[in-house]
Amino acid sequence: MVDEGTRKTLSSIPLLKTKAGPRDKELWTTRLKEEYQALIKYVQNNKEADNDWFRLESDKTGTKWFGKCWYIHNLLKYEFDLEFDIPITYPTTAPELALPGLDGKTAKMYRGGKICLTDHFKPLWARNVPRFGIAHAMALGLGPWLAVEIPDLIEKGVVKYQEKSEEAK
């Protein structure tokens, strides 16, 4: 099953209510508001737990999302661009989170840098339609993926630490 830490994180993210996808016009706006509320709460939780690890934003339609996620390893911060589209079948199907910068660098990815999810993800998502949203996909999918893959990629020298060139940020 999903590990205890992930389960705890997951359960502290507010659940969504509206079953609506990008083709549902007004209901989609309602759903988008819920998505943002859950994400804001999740980021707040992370900050309080001193485990702030991503930022996300979307275009106006809420169908294209982009942002950054980062992972601290041996006191160094490794940062990655994150992006995904909301499929028309959302929220029945989860978004496919992608780290395009790592595309082709690890076997735990599909084309385009889409991360490979564990066997737990899809059943858990399916059982929680429409309550799970983007924040849950991040906590259940990307969080554990980074924790397993990034240390390994650093060790193999595939991912290298990059000094921040722009200090003011």
């Binding site: 502290s12 083709r23 899809k122």
Partner: protein, 393 residues
């Protein structure tokens, strides 16, 4: 001024032409107007037309009028498209947004010199060289996004040689999202289609014939898997996402096209579900009724339409006049739904041995996974304000 996208498309097209020119210096044969059964070494259709003479297919040349959409031109889709091309299909519509990579070379069809080309352009060049009689249309986009989904639906509903709906859609995609998108489109358009798939461990696969309202749609049940007889505990997923074998993909493509031909040309029995387990050479077949509580509202609409139809109108394939009556050992299970037998369908599926659902969904879906976070409360803030709040965190 042309957009970057248009320019990119043009570059891809030219690259495909160049590659085709480099890889194939053999002159293309002339187009053939009418399929002939004459057995001469220059007739590419003689062995196909022989099916007619042997009484297997009554009207093989009808294939020239038919159009098929192949969604996903990877390990299964490319082979599927090649088979249909060699069979002389009237029109093929190909969809994929991926490029050919050297990592694909463990599969059939694509060649190393095509690496870097879009899969649809590379495939179109090869297929057109194999059979110039086939009309080929390509779409290089992801069908699951809001921008492309409508284009996808339009191309299916107006994609035939006479600008009507295509005769069949074949799903050869490798992910759940795309399958669901095809399912959504086909339920809305009342379009018959085949779903196909190969497991991520490469040792099992399946095809499923979906007639909206009449057989189970892809959303009627959780995904089905053929039991692989591999102990889950010994299945190692460390370090890789998915494996693939040209054999399994070729076999599934063969099943897919074989059943497509039977459906399109009206011969033999069309399997509603056919599974394949490579480790045990096990091939379960079954028929699946739609779920009255399917999440897809169009599926439920199609079910009501099907129920309202008079008996014996829909028999899956064209029934010729001298067709034998459907008899008892018709194990692929097209049965006449008799309005007098109120067979109350429960949402529980009756699956053949060796096929199971990938996961179960509790019937009472109202109790969520334990959550201390509660549910989101209605927010007074507008969407723009919430977006701004998230941005400023």
């Amino acid at each position: 001024m042309a957009s970057v996208e248009e320019l990119q498309r043009k570059v891809n097209e030219l690259e495909a032409k160049l590659a085709a020119a480099q890889g194939n210096v053999v002159p293309m044969r002339q187009k053939i107007d009418v399929m002939s059964s004459e057995v001469v070494d220059s007739n590419p259709y003689s062995r196909l037309m022989a099916l007619k003479r042997m009484g297997i297919v009554n009207n093989y040349e009808k294939i020239r009028e038919l159009s098929v959409a192949v969604v996903g031109v990877g390990g299964v889709g490319s082979v599927t498209a090649e088979m249909l091309t060699r069979c002389g299909i009237g029109k093929l519509i190909l969809y994929d947004y991926d490029k050919v990579e050297l990592a694909n070379m463990n599969r059939l069809f694509f060649q190393p010199h095509q690496a870097g080309l879009s899969k649809v352009d590379a495939a179109a060049a090869t297929l057109q060289a194999i059979n110039p009689d086939v009309s080929i249309e390509t779409y290089n986009y992801n069908i699951t996004t809001i921008d492309n989904f409508q284009k996808f639906c339009d191309s299916i509903s107006k994609g035939s040689l006479t600008d009507g709906p295509v005769d069949l859609v074949l799903s050869c995609v490798d992910n759940f999202e795309a399958r669901m998108a095809i399912n959504t489109a086909c339920n809305e358009l009342n379009q018959r289609w085949f779903e196909s798939g190969v497991s991520e461990n490469a040792v099992s696969g399946h095809i499923q014939f979906i007639i909206p309202g009449e057989t189970a749609c892809f959303a009627c049940a959780p995904p089905l898997v053929v039991a692989s007889k591999i102990d889950e505990k010994t299945l190692k997923r460390e370090g890789v996402c998915a494996a693939s074998l040209p054999t399994t993909m070729g076999i599934v493509a063969g099943f897919l096209v074989q059943n497509s031909l039977k459906f399109l040309l009206g011969f033999g029995n069309v399997s509603h579900y056919l599974g394949y387990s490579a480790l045990t050479d096990f091939f379960p077949t079954m028929s699946l009724k739609p779920n009255p509580q399917c999440e897809d509202s169009y599926c439920r609409t199609r079910q009501a339409e099907f129920k309202a139809k008079p008996v014996a109108v829909e028999l899956a394939t064209e029934v010729t006049e001298d067709a034998k009556p459907i008899h008892d050992d018709n194990e692929w299970g097209i049965s006449l739904v008799d309005e007098n037998s109120p067979e109350e369908e429960t949402p529980t599926l009756s699956l053949v041995d060796g096929v199971q659902v990938a996961y179960s969904i509790p019937v009472d879906n109202s109790t969520p996974e334990s959550s201390t976070g509660g549910a989101v409360a209605a927010s007074e803030l507008s969407l723009e304000e919430l977006m701004q709040q998230m941005k400023s965190m």
